[in-house]
Symmetry: C2
Subunit: 445 residues, 2 copies
C-alpha cells in the first residue's frame, strides 16, 4: 500500500464545516437581501486575471502579496486580491452594455499571500457594493444608508465616521500644503494606530511644526473629534476658507440623514478619516460597531472620480464600499450574537425497517411538499434489535444533527398514523396524521 | 498619460453581467433549496491546495489541465479542479468532527486549463452532493431522488440511467475476464461516443471475439437497451451467474422507485453505463434530459467504497453526484426555459427635486419595510427642465432596468399622496397612499 498523503490545508486557508458554513451562508444571504432591497444587482468576474490588469501601475505591497504565476499557455496570471480592480476592468470592458447609474454588488473570494498572524487569512470573502456613473450626493447617501441597513439587519448598531477628502485638500491648499497632500493624508490615516505624538512628529517632518499644528487642529485631534456633526462641519468649513461645494455636500448629507434617521443618526463627521488610498477623491467613511469599536472598521469606502482610468479613456465616477465577511463574523462572535447554526431541517423520518426506505421517502415527500424540509434516516439497527433500541439510537443521531423532531412511521408507513417525538421534551405525540404534524411543526417554527 | 491596459479576460474565463448572474443565482438558490429539503448541509474548502493532495496518485490528464504553481513560500500549490478530491481530503482531516451518515453539498468554482473549444470553460461551477458513511441502498436511492427533485424543480424531465459496476464485474468474473475489468469498463463507457463497431473492435482486442460478443449482449447493445427495467435486470442477473447482493440492490432500488414515483419513474437500467473512473465500485448513473438527450449527461455519479484512501486509513464509503451548472444553463437556454432575469426590485421612486433625496429614501424605507424592494432614482434632470420631461427620462431608465412601476412623490414626499406609474400599460394611478401602493404591488407580484 502506498504511503498516505497528509490531509492538510495551506497556511492561512480554511475548511468550513457545516456549522460554520451555515452561518456564513445565513449572513451572506441577509447581506444580499439588503443589497437587493435597494435595487442593487449582482455581477461576477473570474478568480484569475492577467497579472498586468490586477497590478495596474504596480504597487509594491500588492506585488509582494499577490498569487501570481505563469499558466500552461505561458500567460502571466494572478488570483484577484480584491473586487475593486476586477470591477474597474469589468466596467472598462462592458460600459456599453451597462445601464447608468449602475448599482452593483459582488460577493466573492479574494486571495492575498500576506502574513497570517492575528487572524488574517489568505483566502477571504468580500462583499462590495458600488454606484457608478453618478456624481450625485444622493449616491453617496445611498451607500451610507445601505451600510446602516445591512448592519442593522444583522443586529449591529454602528457609528459611521465620514469625511470629505476634497475638503481636506481644500484646507491643505488654503495653508499652502497641497503638494504634500498624499503624504499628509496617509499620515493622518494612521493616527488611530500610532497615536497623537508620533503623528505630530511625522506631520512636522513633512510640513513643518506650524502646519502640523494647523493640521491637527483641522482634524480635531485636540478635541478627540468629540464635537457634533454641525460643530465639526462649521470648524472645517471655516479652516478650509469658507463654504465650498465639498462643505455643501457634507451639509446636504447631514440633512438627509436627519430626514431618514432623525438627529441621532449614527453618523459622525470625523476629519481624521482619510482612507490611505489615492484612489478616493470625495466623501470617505469607515464603520465602527458601537459595542466593539476596537475591532476597527468593518466596512469602509468612499467616492472616486476615475474608476477605470487604467483601462479606458472614459472617466467613470462613483461611490462604493466593501464589507469584510470574516471580520464581521469575528465581531458577531465576540458579541455572542452569531446566528445559531441549526440545520435546514427540523424533522427526520425514523428508519424502522430498511426495506421500507422507499415508503419513508414517499412519506417525507408529503412533508417537503407542505414546505417542511424533512430528512429520512437511512439505516435501522441490525436485524433482531428491539424497536425501542433502534429508535433510541436514532433519537441520539437526530439530536447530534440539531433536529427538533423525529417522525416515527407505523408498519404501513403511508397508511398508518404517525408518532411525533419531540426531542427536547422527550415526549411522544401519537396517532397523528401528516397534516396534523405539519401544522404542529409550522406552528412552532 | 500612461498607455491604457487592455481590459480583457483570460481565454476560457467569463464575466457575468447582472442578467446572467441573476439567472445563475436563481438556479443555484433553487438547487440549494432542494438539497436542504433533504437534510443536506453545506461545506466549503479552499480554492488553493497543496498540489500533492489534488494530484494524488498523479493522473496524466489531470496533471496537464491543472493550474499549478509555486507560491511565495515555495509551496507546490494548485487550484482545485473538482470538488471530489478536496472532499476526500476534508473527510480524512475532519472525520472525528462529522456526524455519520454525513450528507453534505458543496457548490463552488473549479478550474481546469483544458481546451476551450465547444463551450468548455476553464472556470466553472459544480454542485456536488454526497452521503458518506452509509452502505445502505437507501443512500443510493436518496441521491437518485435528489437528482429527480432538483431537475423537476427546474422544470426539467429526466431519464436517469442506472447500472451497478459490481454486477458488471461479477459478470466479467463469470466469463473469466475479471483481470481486464478496468479496460473493458472504460471501453464500454465510450460506447455512446464512438459507436458499436469501434467498441466491438476494441473489446475484441482486449478480450477476444467471443468475449466481446458476450459483453455486448450483457450491455444490451444489440437491443439498444430498449428493455424494461425488469427485463434488463433479469438478463444481467442471469448472465452474471444468478441472484447476488448486487442484483438484489438493483431490485430493491427498483421497488422503491415504484413506491415514490409509480411505474414510469424516469429511471432506466442501462448496463452500458459504467462511468470511466476507477473510483466507483457500486451503483453508477447518468442523467439525460428527455427533451434534449444529445446534450449528454448533466448529472452523473455513483457509489464508491473508499473515499479518502489516499489520505486516511479509514475506509469511508459513500454515494454522490455532481451537477454541472454551466451545462444545465446551456440546456435550459436551448429549451428556451431559462428563468427571466428580472431585477429584484419592481418599483423605483422618481427623483423630481434632488434636494429631496433624503425624503425619497425615507419614503422608500416604508416600502422596503412592507417587504417591497424599492430603488430610489438618484438624479433629476437639470434645473429648469419641465417636470414631465424629467419623468419621461426616468420612465425610460426604469424600463431599461426591467422595473414594472415608478412611484412619483409629491412636493412633500412624506405627506402628499403618491402617483403610481404602471410602465407596461403607461397608466398613472393617482392619489394613492403608501399602503394602497403596497397592496397593489403585492397583488400583482
Amino acid at each position: 500500500m502506498a504511503a498516505l498523503i497528509e490531509p492538510k490545508v495551506l497556511k492561512g486557508f480554511r475548511d468550513f464545516l457545516p456549522p460554520a458554513e451555515m452561518i456564513r451562508r445565513n449572513l451572506t444571504e441577509k447581506i444580499e437581501a439588503s443589497f437587493r432591497s435597494f435595487g442593487f444587482v449582482p455581477i461576477d468576474t473570474p478568480a484569475l486575471e492577467y497579472a498586468e490588469i490586477l497590478l495596474g501601475k504596480g504597487g509594491g505591497e500588492t506585488e509582494k502579496q499577490i498569487y501570481r504565476f505563469t499558466d500552461n499557455g505561458e500567460r502571466d496570471v494572478a488570483l484577484r486580491f480584491d473586487l475593486t480592480v476586477p470591477f474597474a476592468r469589468f466596467v472598462a470592458l462592458h460600459q456599453a452594455e451597462l445601464v447608468f447609474p449602475f448599482k452593483r454588488y459582488h460577493i466573492g473570494k479574494v486571495w492575498r499571500g500576506e502574513n497570517t498572524q492575528r487572524g488574517r487569512y489568505r483566502e477571504f470573502t468580500q462583499c462590495d457594493f458600488d454606484i457608478i456613473g453618478s456624481d450625485s450626493p444622493a449616491a453617496d447617501f445611498e451607500i451610507l444608508l445601505i451600510i446602516h441597513a445591512v448592519l442593522l439587519n444583522l443586529g449591529l448598531n454602528v457609528n459611521i465616521k465620514i469625511n470629505h477628502r476634497g475638503l481636506f485638500n481644500r484646507f491643505l491648499s488654503h495653508i499652502g500644503q497641497q503638494e504634500n497632500s498624499v503624504e499628509i493624508l496617509r499620515t493622518v490615516d494612521k493616527l488611530a494606530k500610532v497615536g497623537l505624538a508620533e503623528t505630530q512628529q511625522s506631520l512636522a517632518a513633512i510640513a513643518g511644526d506650524t502646519h502640523a499644528q494647523k493640521i491637527l487642529a483641522f482634524i480635531g485631534a485636540d478635541t478627540c473629534a468629540a464635537g457634533t456633526f454641525d460643530d465639526t462641519l462649521n470648524r472645517i468649513t471655516e479652516l478650509s476658507g469658507g463654504p465650498s461645494p465639498e462643505s455643501e455636500r457634507l451639509q446636504q448629507l447631514r440633512q438627509w440623514m436627519q430626514n431618514v434617521y432623525g438627529v441621532n443618526a449614527g453618523f459622525t463627521l470625523d476629519p481624521s478619516i482619510t482612507r490611505g488610498l489615492d484612489y478616493y477623491t470625495g466623501v470617505v467613511f469607515e464603520t465602527f460597531l458601537t459595542e466593539l469599536p476596537d475591532i476597527g472598521s468593518i466596512c469602509s469606502g468612499g467616492r472616486y472620480d476615475n474608476l477605470a482610468g487604467l483601462y479606458s479613456k472614459s472617466r467613470i465616477s462613483g461611490v462604493g464600499s466593501s464589507i469584510g465577511l470574516d471580520r464581521m463574523i469575528a465581531a458577531l462572535e465576540s458579541l455572542d450574537r452569531l446566528p445559531v447554526a441549526a440545520g435546514y431541517t427540523a424533522a427526520a423520518i425514523a428508519c424502522l425497517k430498511q426495506e421500507h426506505s422507499g415508503l419513508y421517502q414517499a412519506l417525507a415527500q408529503q412533508f417537503r411538499q407542505a414546505g417542511i424540509p424533512c430528512e429520512v434516516f437511512l439505516e435501522g439497527a441490525a436485524a433482531g434489535t428491539a424497536d425501542h433500541k433502534q429508535l433510541l439510537k436514532q433519537f441520539v443521531l437526530a439530536e447530534k444533527k440539531g433536529l427538533r423532531w423525529v417522525i416515527i412511521p407505523g408498519e404501513n408507513p403511508l397508511q398508518d398514523t404517525l408518532t411525533l417525538r419531540d426531542l427536547p421534551t422527550r415526549q411522544n405525540h401519537e396517532n397523528l396524521s401528516v397534516k396534523a404534524i405539519c401544522s404542529k411543526i409550522h406552528q412552532e417554527i
